[in-house]
């Protein structure tokens, strides 16, 4: 068992309405020193055997991230 983590975030120039809505809500919680919030997805892929980074990259590229608007970052989880 090994786990690969894929972080998918919107490209920096792409509007992130979710992050914006959260950022706008923070002052109501008394938080004023946050300049921006970006929200993406974190995906944990559990391999039956060895962690296969290439495989995971292929999955991320084809299925998990939308290359038109998102970038992703991939790594083997330390704690798995």
């Amino acid at each position: 068992m090994a786990r690969v983590v894929v972080d998918v975030m919107l490209k920096p120039e792409i509007l992130d309405p979710q992050g914006q809505a959260v950022a706008n809500a923070l002052p109501r919680l008394g938080v004023t020193d946050v300049s921006s919030v970006r929200i993406g997805r974190r995906i944990e892929i559990e391999f039956a055997g060895e962690a296969d980074l290439d495989r995971a990259r292929e999955i991320a590229d084809k299925l998990l991230a939308n290359p038109v608007i998102e970038d992703f970052d991939i790594r083997v989880a330390e704690d798995a």
Partner: protein, 639 residues
Amino acid sequence: MTSQPDTATSGAAASPSEKKPTGFAATDVLINEFAGAPDTVERAYQTSTELQPHTELGLKDDEYERIRQILGRRPTASELAMYSIMWSEHCSYKSSKVHLRQFGEKTPQNTRMLAGIGENAGVVQISDELAVTFKVESHNHPSFVEPYQGAATGVGGIVRDILAMGARPIAVMDPLRFGAADHPDTARVLPGVVAGIGGYGNCLGLPNIGGEIVFDPTYQGNPLVNALSIGVLPVERLQHKEAAGVGNIVVLLGARTGRDGIGGVSVLASATFDDEAEQRRPSVQVGDPFMEKLLIESCLELYDAGLVAGIQDLGGAGLTCALTETAAAAGTGMRVWLERVPLREASMSPTEILASESQERMLLIVTPENLAPVLAVAEKWGVWATAIGEVTQSEPDGSPGRLVISWNDHIVVDVPPGSLADDGPVYARPIREPADLILLQADKAETLPRPATGDELRETVLRMAASPNLCDKTWVTEQYDRYVLGNTILAQPEDSGVLRIDERTGLGVALSVDGNGRFARLDPYEGAKLALAEAYRNVAVTGAEPVAVTDCLNFGSPEDPAVMWQFAEAVRGLADGCQLLGTPVTGGNVSFYNQTGAAAIHPTPVVGVLGVFDDVARRIPMGFTSPTGDGDLLFLLGE
């Protein structure tokens, strides 16, 4: 975080190979700075021979020459981008204008029409107090590039058109065309498009009351995503786009401006691209329906308080279009300070700010004394509102004023706004009947085999029932909210959507959109008439009186004479049909360049008909009224 550009772009290759080239990066030529400063008018005078990338921006040599003539110098980088946007096919209707005139010429006089072609959307009076406005528009190319966001922002765009007329948007419809149902790319495009339309429309609280889903291989590399919206307004709330009143303030309302879809919609929808352009896609627009909902509520509050002198939505052509159109419509000038525009990314150049297609924005013209209350309403709803400019005088000789735009004290634009908005090139493109038309028409339906026995008939019926074009559409329509607002009288699977407009009187409307690309391919003149007749019938059978028409004309490249012939014929057919029925075309949209390589889609005029009910309680649903149908009599009308 670390992005992975190489893997990210290779994702494009994972899509099918016949994928539509998705445009050159107009941004490459738009970010034009000189030692940290932008290209200014002053600089343009000094460097009049400097070469400019006008062809990359889609401008022909003679078009570029005309710009130089108009300005008496070379355009600045920002001006060049503005002309490229406003003179694109998408914004200027340069190939279709000469044909669309027929809608005006052939339309019977009609007292219901309060605003017609040329406005953001046509407005039709339906009672002493109330009017409705409706329009259908395309978002085909963006929806192929990024189905969810493309379709979502298509809904957002048409809704802002309706809002700009002073109306509260009250429903949407979505005529859609996809490639073969079993093609792998349809599995990518269709769910995304449907989710995008639902995601945006549902979140805005607009019931979806109908549409179409058609599968045909002709749309494989070029699906059609058309979106219709309808809104209602008290007659006296009708809004105008004119930036009238010297000294009035120009206010940008709504979302902040980012690098969305720069060189996108307008340029993308106005040319075919070659395959090398594939990798350099324009950045796509992302919609924020929540922001749009706040924008709607704040605009309606502003209208009702009488705080708005003029308003225009920001669509595909962004600030460029809104500034030039509002100024040109009034014949005034305008002075704009671009550095005041609230940005998502501080590093944006003036040209990028002018070309950005960021969604959920409106441009307001307000009197100076109304500025404070306008900002207060915006604040109440939590949307940005910023005074970015003011209306200035026309020229001393009485000719229209100039649009002057500065960015941090650099004058980057100084143009006559009418030259962008109204005086773009107009082409009478060559037309030629498609060579294969005779063959197509000779292949008569009468020669097809007919079911002769009961079993064959049964088999035919089953095959038809199972065909993607006739089968149940619930998988799609269940993703759309049809109940919200509580005035939906009929929606899918009925022939028309029916809405109650006035709870006290039962006043209401019916709407249907129809089109048939296969008919139109065989005979675009009759095909357009048939689309009109179908929508008209669908409205009539619910019990409403059809009163007005909108249309979205989806065609291939206007530079192909055969496509242009199809277009000319379809427009003639629709105009003749409307004349015959006595229903005016109140507005619509032309979408050209729907093709894959040299192969154009079937000509696909999509026609929407609006009908009026004095009392929606009289609506006639299509099912039997008693649960069993016992005792109902069936009649067949017509020949």
